[in-house]
């Protein structure tokens, strides 16, 4: 089971009400390479991956939920108390008429999150390579969001999240090496 801790993994500060930026950030909330996809991908793969890397999938998957919460906090703060007019100006009128100010698991273009974003092939190498690719894609998405964001305090938190993708990618690369090792040669009786 999981326990909730009443703190963010990293402080999130937002300088100003900026719904347009929230629209971009939602990509990492309900997008293909976003934090929801990441958490669900890893936690689902752990049931059928060899024992030596279950712990890693479990722990990275858990950290991804902390990142999901950071993104939600950014979106929440950027849009809190924004008027329908402001949302409209930011291109969020279609979101507003369906959800008011509520968050929803969709990407920047409004496509709802779908399980088709994640894979579980059952082949350990295929699954971990998918995870490495997912981390690199999420890293790239953070880069592109930083490029279009003009909020320096928000960018600080986004740089933290980008760096986490790098560390996760490093660990998954090590997981491949662990899976390649000849340590547990099949014993024939």
């Amino acid at each position: 089971m999981w326990y909730y801790e009443k703190k963010l993994q990293y402080p999130v500060k937002v300088r100003e009400c900026n719904p347009r930026l929230a629209k971009y950030l939602i990509e990492q909330y309900g997008g293909a390479d976003g934090e929801l996809s990441a958490a669900l991908r890893y936690l689902n793969q752990r049931y059928t991956i060899p024992g030596k890397v279950i712990g890693l999938l479990n722990d990275i998957g858990t950290e991804e939920f902390a990142h999901l919460e950071m993104i939600a906090t950014m979106v929440y703060k950027l849009t809190k108390d924004a008027s329908p007019e402001q949302l409209k100006e930011a291109g969020l009128a279609p979101h507003y008429v369906n959800h008011d100010g509520a968050l929803f698991y969709h990407n920047s273009a409004g496509n709802p999150w779908t399980a088709e974003y994640i894979q579980a092939k059952g082949d350990p190498i295929a699954d971990i390579y998918e995870d490495i690719a997912a981390e690199e894609k999420a890293r790239a998405t953070y880069q592109w969001i930083i490029n279009v964001s003009d909020d320096p305090e928000l960018n600080d938190s986004l740089r933290f999240l980008r760096e986490r993708e790098i560390v996760h990618s490093q660990r998954f690369r090590e997981a491949v090496e662990i899976l390649k090792e000849e340590r547990d040669k099949k014993t024939i009786f």
């Binding site: 326990y3 909730y4 801790e5 009443k6 703190k7 963010l8 993994q9 990293y10 402080p11 999130v12 890397v53 712990g55 890693l56 722990d59 990275i60 950290e63 919460e69 939600a72 906090t73 929440y76 703060k77 560390v167 996760h168 660990r171 090590e174 997981a175 662990i178």
Partner: protein, 89 residues
Amino acid sequence: MSHTKTMPPEYYAQLEQIQAIDFVIVELNLYLDTHPHDYQAIQQYNQCTYESKRLKKQFEKQFGPLMHFGRSYSNYPWNWDDTPWPWQV
């Protein structure tokens, strides 16, 4: 009635200390998942865990429980669900 319970600077300062030590713990945890025999890293992990527990005990005395489901103690009345939540501060 608006909920303007401004948190004092100590809240943010102590929280940041906890975030920092817990971050080191996360990093060491993931590292140890792929390096299970690194004795020094395990020692550091245990030291940081001790320090984290100490900081949280101190924080909870002033600002209420950090965790639910029996991982923190409650005052009277029940104060787990007091605002602010992490996304609100």
